[in-house]
């Protein structure tokens, strides 16, 4: 009996490890960010200075927050029709066929490609395309990054929504067909209303993924510490600025970067929680 108690305690302690890690993350980020917030106040979040000259140091997170949000939402927008079509392809039109299986495997492959490889491909293949289309001289910018991001989050957007769409009961679809509906009408009037929450949740989770993406975006966004003005202008994201400048940062700059990390953490945590909330409400 005693050894059983011991075992249970050990298991319980392991769960505490998770709690400690999570709490530790929050505390460390907050602790590291405090000097920056003390120096710049809450205005840090909406300030768009980024001046590392010693003696006149001033940092602000706004350009990066803007860059992150713009690229992520744009990526989601681009990804939507692709993921939506792929889900319908696999869960409705060609459900259970070999073609759907092949498509599914290929979409899974998309999820397996490391971010840096996406960045390389974007740099060497996509960029020249953008340049030749005359959209941006260097090929960098919000649009290029969002395009790559969109491709990267397609697997996340598709997997959950495919499951949800496939779960709509056959009898509802048959009832609609028996009333004379075309397939398109069955999709929009029966399948989608029944799958709506799941589909929305999967897109929100894909958004969460896009928000935290680092390497591919860093290589394509142009690394300009300004709020992007247009679709093809350059900018920067929270993840990129940390990746680029953390290595040799000290003092106030380091604290500012940690503060940006804290903000990034908060934004992704909120978005992911919203997605999960929708899923749990849906499956009630």
């Amino acid at each position: 009996m005693n050894s059983d108690r011991l075992t249970r305690t050990v298991l319980f302690i392991s769960s505490l490890v998770l709690l400690m890690i999570s709490a530790g993350i929050v505390f460390s980020l907050v602790g590291g960010a405090i000097p920056a917030f003390k120096a710049f106040g809450p205005g840090f979040i909406i300030s768009n200075h980024w001046n590392p000259t010693s003696g006149h140091e001033s940092y602000g997170a706004l350009p990066f927050i803007a860059g992150t949000l713009i690229t992520s939402f744009l990526a989601l927008l681009i990804c939507l029709p692709l993921a939506f079509s792929t889900s319908l392809f696999m869960a409705e039109y060609y459900r259970g066929t070999r073609v759907a299986g092949i498509l599914s495997s290929m979409v899974d492959l998309l999820a397996g490609i490391p971010s840096i490889v996406y960045g390389l491909w974007g740099f060497y293949s996509l960029r020249p395309l953008i340049i030749s289309l005359g959209l941006n001289e260097q090929g960098f910018g919000v649009f290029t990054s969002s395009l790559i991001l969109a491709i990267m989050i397609v697997p996340y957007a598709t997997s959950l929504s495919t499951e949800i769409i496939a779960m709509v009961p056959d009898e509802l679809k048959e009832a609609a067909y028996s009333l004379g509906a075309t397939r398109r009408e069955v999709i929009f009037n029966v399948i989608l209303p029944n799958a709506r929450s799941g589909i929305i949740a999967s897109y929100i989770l894909a958004l969460g993924r896009a928000l935290g993406e680092t390497m591919a975006v860093t290589m394509l966004i142009g690394n300009a510490n300004v709020i992007p003005k247009g679709l093809f202008s350059t900018g920067n994201t929270m993840a990129s600025i940390i990746a680029n400048q953390f290595g040799e940062a000290t003092g106030l700059k380091l604290s500012s970067l940690i503060a940006i990390g804290l903000l990034l953490f908060a934004i992704t945590a909120i978005v992911n929680s919203i997605g999960k909330l929708i899923i749990s409400r849906f499956s009630r």
Partner: protein
């Protein structure tokens, strides 16, 4: 009864819309997979020329060597041995940290499925899974680089990656365990086997394929991670097996090559290597998962 309006026009229009939707769906689905074909093609075609035996055993060249080789129209010397060993080192240490803890937490959740505390743990685990890897790199820096190893180190990288692996292992452990028929568990207890033996000798062996799938999946996920390692392991030009020292890794090497105009050509071979490794693990764990799901129906 109300009059149903003339049939033919609206019917034709509806059929047309129906066909248009189907065609659009097919086209968009094809567009979705086009990138992957292009990416793999480009990497294979460009990378294969650079792979030879040296690739695997020699450390990466430095900028000067590369520049000289280019000037003389020779292939750039060296390989990515320091990256390969570094990746192995970091991943193995990360696994040693994450796997035992993750499995134990998974078992805890399995044994206490409905308590509110368990719900809390699951929620936190899922939130942790969504934390961007760069943020975990910051954490690795703050916890290990600053406080433990006083400098960039493989250990810091492993810690960051271990935190990434943890939620995946927890989830797959709990789900795998749930699929063990309850009778097996009860039979073991009924024979008076102590709890820890039930876990080690009964539960884990029964679920080993599911557990392995979870492990393989989480490893394949962290193999390609670059960002957290930039802030923790930093990189190194020599083969390093000391976890307290800066270490290189394949994705880090790719980043170095990319940033150095002399070594840019090396990105393709190293990417090919990384890609093959990651995708193979993905495919293997996918196959294992399918076998596991179909073979273990109650």
């Amino acid at each position: 009864m109300a009059q149903i309006p003339a049939i033919s026009d609206s019917t034709n229009r509806r059929h047309l819309k129906n066909v248009i939707l189907k065609v659009s769906i097919i086209i968009l689905s094809l567009i979705t997979i086009v990138p992957i074909i292009f990416i793999i093609y480009k990497i294979v075609v460009n990378g294969i020329s650079q792979i030879n035996l040296d690739f695997f055993v020699k450390p990466s060249p430095d900028s000067l060597q590369a520049m000289t080789a280019l000037a003389n129209h020779e292939t750039i010397p060296g390989g990515i041995a320091n990256g390969i060993t570094g990746t192995f080192l970091i991943v193995i240490v990360a696994s040693l940290l994450a796997i035992p803890v993750g499995i134990m937490i998974g078992i805890y959740l399995y044994e206490n499925p409905t308590s509110r505390y368990s719900g809390l743990i699951r929620n936190i685990s899922e939130i942790l899974q969504g934390v961007p890897s760069i943020v975990l790199g910051v954490i690795g820096y703050m916890w290990i680089v600053k406080n433990v190893t006083n400098g960039f180190s493989a250990l810091a990288g492993s810690v960051a990656l271990a935190i990434m692996m943890l939620p995946m292992i927890i989830k797959s452990t709990e789900e795998t365990m749930k699929m063990i028929p309850n009778e097996i568990r009860e039979a073991a207890f009924a024979m008076g086997v102590p709890y820890h033996k039930v876990i080690i000798k009964v539960l884990i062996p029964s679920s080993i394929s599911g557990l392995s799938t979870g492990v393989l999946l989480s490893v394949s996920r962290i193999l390609g991670e670059t960002a957290p390692l930039m802030l923790t392991a930093l990189g190194s030009s020599v083969i390093n097996l000391n976890i307290t020292k800066p270490t290189n890794a394949v994705p880090l090497l790719i980043w170095e090559f990319y940033n150095d105009p002399n070594m840019v050509k090396l990105v393709w071979s190293s990417s090919l290597f990384l890609l093959i490794f990651v995708l193979s693990l993905n495919i293997i764990s996918g196959r294992l998962a399918k076998k596991h799901k179909t073979g273990r129906k109650k």
